[in-house]
Amino acid sequence: MNTAKNSHTIDVVFVLAVACAFAASVLTVLMLGANVYGSMQKTSEEEFKSRVCLSYIAAKIHANDSLGKLHVGTYEGAPALYLDAEFDGTGYNTIIYSYDGWLRELFCEKGLELELSSDSGTPVLEIGSVSFENALPNLLSIEFQGSNGDSGKLFVNLRCGGGVGT
């Protein structure tokens, strides 16, 4: 009678053990899947920010490369890129700079930027910081620093010749 009872107990314990092992493996596989997706999304987002920031600035430069219309300077103490334009006889500036963890673009009449604050620019992309430098008189160097420590660098040649920072 006891043997019969023990055999029955072993049956139940075995089945429960298999069930627990199955549950544990299901949980492990699901967590692995979630981690893979999560890490892929995170890497993709970091690369996206770096790539888009530099591509955006390069596209802006390529669309405004005219003689004397592009120069590196500072805006409210931050490195900035000035793109000059003229509409109906009035001069305008597009200023690209970074402030408070955002890449910003400010479009205003020439001289008016002095009356505006750093947060006046339209936020374009959330980044750490961006800096502009004349590596050569006609070669602009754009350096990007992400908020999580990653970085990127892009050179852009100015076919019309660059300007000296103000």
Binding site: V18, S44, F155
Partner: protein
């Protein structure tokens, strides 16, 4: 008459459990293949993006230096490979390696084309260590002065 319980309940449970394990194993195998394929595609995209950025940098520096390979190599941190080409080497994370580093994963090469009146032309190619081309663009610099080979 006593009928001893045959434990048919746990037998049925065990059968169901085994079926579930089988179904889950098949589904996991299929999904794992999908994860691997997605990871591979993502790695390819990342490789292409970095190759495009490296090629752009090479082309812009070449144009800015008027086609001068020594100046271009100095700007990019690359090295001469013969008289008409420079190479910039990267590791698996696309970090710049010192010139001539033997253990590299990717390389961006600028190869000057035969001389043409008025312009200095080159081809920028980014390859992996096996020589597979990832991205390539032409570049031309206006020859307004004699550029060093």
């Amino acid at each position: 008459m006593k009928v001893r319980s045959t434990g048919s309940g746990s037998g049925m449970f065990l059968t169901e459990l085994l079926m579930a394990i089988l179904i889950f194993a098949v589904a996991s195998a299929i999904c794992l293949r999908v994860f691997v394929a997605a990871n591979h595609v993502s790695a390819e995209s990342s490789r292409l993006n970095h190759a495009v950025a490296s090629a752009q940098n090479c082309a812009e520096c070449f144009k800015a230096t008027g086609g001068s390979l020594p100046e271009t190599a100095a700007l990019l941190g690359g090295a001469f490979t013969g008289t008409r080409a420079i190479e910039v080497r990267f590791d698996s994370g696309w970090q710049l390696l010192p010139p001539g580093e033997p253990s590299f994963c990717y390389v961006a090469a600028i190869v000057r084309m035969p001389e043409k009146a008025g312009s200095i032309d080159a081809q920028v190619t980014v390859c992996d260590i096996a020589g597979t081309k990832i991205f390539t663009i032409p570049v031309s610099s206006f020859q307004d002065q004699e550029a060093e080979l």
